[in-house]
């Protein structure tokens, strides 16, 4: 299909399903006005984005799924001993934090309501829940609806044993008493659904338990006075100041101000005495090596409140930079030149103009030496558009249009940047409630010449050396700090380990290329293209998923056989006689020669993911998607005996069993983290240990060495290249595999 037809098709689909006259403004306006505008913020009252969310009846699914990343946590306060929970914010250090004992879910008529996690502190409650499986037909499609699940009615709440109700809107300002360890999560109905279309009155019983260290990462927060002065380093020339720095583990949070009043006398709205104003064009951070350090937004911590005529700023940066750090603050000062100039003319739109109508005007005006040509006026959504064609540089000045006697909702001034746009459109719009004026209208064109000057300010910050890094969780082998240092580490394969590695590399083709090599990258051989490459334990055969199904390649003879079945996540038995693989909903086992294909009788699940074999060659382990998590199951192929092991939360259900069958490596979610960590544990879930902290970007899949002592962890660098790393999960020795490209999928003898 060519691109034009694809676009047309998508346009048509979208238009069919999303009406043109959609109006989200009332919801957005309510949300914003219940919060506070930046101007009001300067006047002292300060609310948070989360208060906006709290005040809204329900953004339901969206909000709850985003809640961990959007929560604005406790306000920063000097002098308190604080900890930081990523996604939750600041907490008192040492405070008791409770979490959900187990995720809960209820499914009715195909709709599932699940409470996935909870974090409870003395003064805050955070519940993460989701609603899935709601059919599109349950939602209105632009028709007028009487009743339905909206507003307060749709708001979930926690029901405590004594009958107290805590509505969702108060979760973040209400703590559940320490002696209350149960509550019922009540969802009266599902937001915006039509009456009778989906089940109502949902109730899920929750239990809260004290958080264990492995369930919750609480980074100690260290307050660092900005260097070199302990106080804001505002000088007569430099309005840029660093006011505070928080060390929250692997990142610093920098807080500061840009003080307009350092640059001159400032009045209301930070307008200077000469009528000029400033706006921030760009903020950058560069380290001593000249590398630009990404400035991130931290939504968990409230930023500083600016004092007087200042703009406050707060950015978060990763610690992997070479100090000192220079912050560049680029602003533009805009100064009116001369008086405002005006021109008027009459325009008749008729008594009942329709949207889409165009009136040619073809009038030329001259302001401050600029020729400005008004081509036409159109009536579009919400008001009139005036289409100009101008000399270059007009857009760098203020050009505005008014209709006399009809103050627009969104008319008025404002300037643009200095762009040489020669075609400009100015709109006069009237909001949703105000009728658009019609008939003979007096139009005023206003022009204000502006002078623009870009100014750059900078400050340097030298963090304390050494960095006050976070206390890692006990026994974590690969931290972000370690991982960052690996790039400088030349110690490759110091133990002389051997064996064959299979890795897949995206080379732009439809299927990734499959390479087999030694662990040190030598004897590299591109064997084929395909996915889910799996090396037999003896390193002699390679199974992979190709376009025509699973193939088995004999690496010594080069002969390939196909088993005639599609599938993925192929895992060889320890003796190399069989393989198991999945076709999403079913688990299959096949002999190494492609014969004997059979489906395994697994527990019913939405997705089945193979994990590994035990040394007896008869017992397999697989993950079965159950609600929001994969339950690991052990299954004996001979007698059919099946036993649940423990749940993991990674979206593919991947894990790998060590060759001796004693350990399992898996990716699992850590409450409060947006990424997953890599863990090992015994098969019953005991002796669980975090091997790779979640800040290290990893794939789900990890690979055991043939002797079961090492893991290859597939990480991915900032440059988007794969960086497989050898980690001994027992001794925590870490070795980079710089010579191996791509994603390592298997390691044979």
């Amino acid at each position: 299909m060519n691109e034009k037809r694809m676009k047309e098709a998508l346009e048509s689909i979208a238009r069919r399903n999303v009406p043109e006259n959609i109006n989200l403004w009332p919801r957005i306006e309510t949300a914003v006005t219940l919060n506070v505008s930046p101007i009001e913020r300067e006047e002292g009252e300060r609310r948070t984005f989360m208060q906006t969310l709290r005040a809204r009846p329900a953004l339901m699914l969206l909000v709850v799924l985003l809640v961990l990343s959007l929560l604005t946590g406790a306000a920063y306060a000097i002098g308190r001993s604080l900890g930081y929970i990523p996604g939750f914010g600041l907490v008192e250090q040492g405070a008791t934090i409770r979490v959900l004992k187990a995720p809960m879910s209820v499914t009715r008529q195909g709709v599932t309501v699940a409470v996935k996690s909870a974090i409870l502190t003395a003064d805050r409650t955070n519940i993460e829940y989701s609603i899935t499986g709601v059919p599109p037909s349950a939602y209105p499609e632009g028709e007028a609806v009487t009743g339905g699940c909206i507003g307060e009615l749709s708001q979930p709440y926690l029901l405590l044993p004594d009958g107290t109700k805590i509505p969702e809107g108060r979760f973040l300002t209400t703590g559940i008493p320490a002696d209350v360890n149960t509550a019922v999560f009540v969802l009266p109905c599902i937001f915006n659904t039509l009456p009778g279309t989906v089940p109502e009155n949902w109730e899920l019983s929750l239990q809260f338990v004290p958080a264990q260290p492995q369930q919750l990462t609480v980074f100690p927060v260290t307050e660092i006075p900005p260097s070199p002065q302990p106080t804001p380093s505002i000088t007569a020339q430099n309005p840029l100041a660093l006011t505070n720095v928080l060390d929250i583990g692997n990142r610093f949070v920098l807080m500061g101000e840009f003080r307009y009043d350092v640059l001159g006398t400032v009045g209301d709205n930070n307008v200077f005495a000469d009528g000029s104003w400033m706006w921030t064009k760009n903020v950058r951070a560069v380290d001593a090596s000249g590398r630009e350090i990404p400035l991130q937004i931290n939504g968990d911590i409230e930023g500083p409140i600016p004092s007087g005529h200042a703009e406050a700023w707060m950015y978060q940066i990763d610690k992997n930079f070479l100090p000192p750090l220079t912050i560049y603050y680029e602003v533009e000062r805009v100064t009116p030149v001369g008086d405002e100039q005006r021109a008027e003319f009459e325009f008749d739109s008729g008594t009942s103009p329709q949207e889409g109508m165009t009136w040619p005007v073809n009038r030329e005006f001259t302001f401050s030496g600029y020729r400005i040509y008004l081509n036409s006026i159109t009536l579009e959504h919400g008001g009139y558009n005036f289409h100009f064609k101008n000399d270059p540089d007009v857009s760098a000045n203020l050009l505005d249009v008014e209709i006399v006697g009809h103050p627009p909702f969104c008319g008025g001034g404002g300037g643009g940047p200095s762009l040489e746009e020669q075609e400009l459109t100015r709109s006069v719009c009237y909001g949703m409630a105000t009728p658009i004026p019609t008939g003979k209208l007096q139009i005023v064109i206003k022009f204000q010449a502006l002078q623009r000057e870009t100014q750059m300010y900078q400050l340097k910050w030298e963090p304390p050396q050494p960095y006050a890094t976070a206390t890692p969780q006990t026994g974590v082998c690969l931290t972000l700090e370690t991982w960052n240092r690996l790039a400088e580490d030349n110690e490759e394969n110091p133990l002389g380990m051997g064996g064959k590695i299979v890795a897949t590399v995206n080379e732009g083709g439809m299927l990734p290329a499959i390479y087999v090599s030694n662990l040190d990258g030598t004897i590299l051989q591109k064997v084929d293209s395909g996915a889910w490459a799996s090396l037999s334990p003896d390193g002699m055969k390679l199974a992979f998923s190709a376009s025509d199904g699973i193939r088995i390649l004999d690496l010594s003879s080069g002969q390939t056989i196909g088993i005639g079945s599609d599938g993925y996540r192929i895992i060889w038995s320890p003796d190399g006689s069989r393989m198991m693989f999945t076709a999403t909903f079913a688990l299959n086992v096949v002999n190494a020669d492609g014969s004997g294909l059979r489906q395994i009788d697994t527990v019913p699940a939405q997705v089945i993911s193979p994990v590994g074999w035990l040394p007896d060659n008869q017992t397999i382990v697989y993950g079965a998607l159950d609600g929001g998590q994969f339950m690991l199951m052990k299954h004996n192929l001979q007698n059919g005996e099946t036993k649940a092991l423990f749940p993991i939360q990674n979206k593919a259900g991947y894990g790998a069993i060590s060759p001796d069958g004693e350990w399992i490596v898996f990716a699992d979610r850590i409450v409060g983290e947006s990424n997953w960590g890599i863990f090992i544990s015994r098969l019953d879930g005991s002796e669980r240990k975090l091997v790779v902290e979640p800040q290290v970007p990893t794939a789900f899949m990890s690979v055991w060495s043939p002797d079961g002592q090492w893991l290859i962890i597939n990480t991915r660098g900032m440059d988007n290249y794969d960086r497989p790393v050898l980690v001994n999960p027992f001794t925590c020795q870490v070795v980079p595999l710089e010579k191996i490209s791509g994603t390592v999928e298997g390691w044979g003898r």
Binding site: E3, S12, T112, L511, Y568
Partner: protein, 183 residues
């Protein structure tokens, strides 16, 4: 008021600027979110949230750039984030899904000239349901928002090569599905 003035007003704390932006971008934004999520109610929620996010971070917006690409990036990312969150619940996960397209990879045949447009639309819509959210997102960005691969890479913080690969995978799978639906 034009778009830049609206943004400047918003930077100055005047939510009238936000209404202008909402009025001009909401329909397209909801369509983008809908094409990715296939859920109208969810798409509306995502766009409301995206505008709030834009409002919250407008001070960091570079006025020398166009608002629409900046905002649509927020919408696409929010849609993806939601879908990724949902995928944890329903198992429509990217890694699984991306593996499935291999099933279709060899069945690619151009069908574009063989069927009527309206029929293709329905097939596309059905086929898109079977794509992973990320694949849907790249299709929407490339064909609906008409973004270049370079823009998509910049937005996703990834390399052009990765975008090419994703796009190719999505396109290939879509074609495979379309062809299958023809049979």
């Amino acid at each position: 008021m034009d778009e830049r003035q609206a943004i400047q007003r918003l930077k100055d704390g005047d939510i009238g600027g936000l209404e202008f932006l909402v009025m001009h971008h909401q329909a397209k934004a909801v369509r983008v979110a809908y094409l990715i999520t296939r859920d109208f109610g969810l798409a509306e929620d995502i766009v409301v949230e995206s505008f709030l996010q834009a409002y919250r971070s407008i001070h960091g917006f570079d006025m020398s750039r166009r608002f629409e690409p900046w905002f649509m990036r927020i919408v696409v990312n929010a849609s993806l984030k939601i879908m990724q969150g949902l995928s944890r619940q329903v198992g429509i996960n990217e890694e699984v899904e991306e593996s499935l397209w291999t099933e279709f990879a060899a069945r690619v045949n151009s069908i574009e000239e063989q069927v009527e447009f309206i029929e293709v639309q329905n097939q596309i819509w059905e086929a898109m349901e079977k794509l992973s959210p990320r694949q849907r997102a790249v299709i929407v960005q490339r064909y609906f928002l008409e973004m270049s691969e370079a823009e998509m890479a910049r937005n996703a913080g990834t390399s052009i090569g990765t975008v090419k690969w994703l796009l190719n995978a999505a396109r290939t799978r879509l074609r495979g599905l379309l062809e299958r639906s023809e049979r």
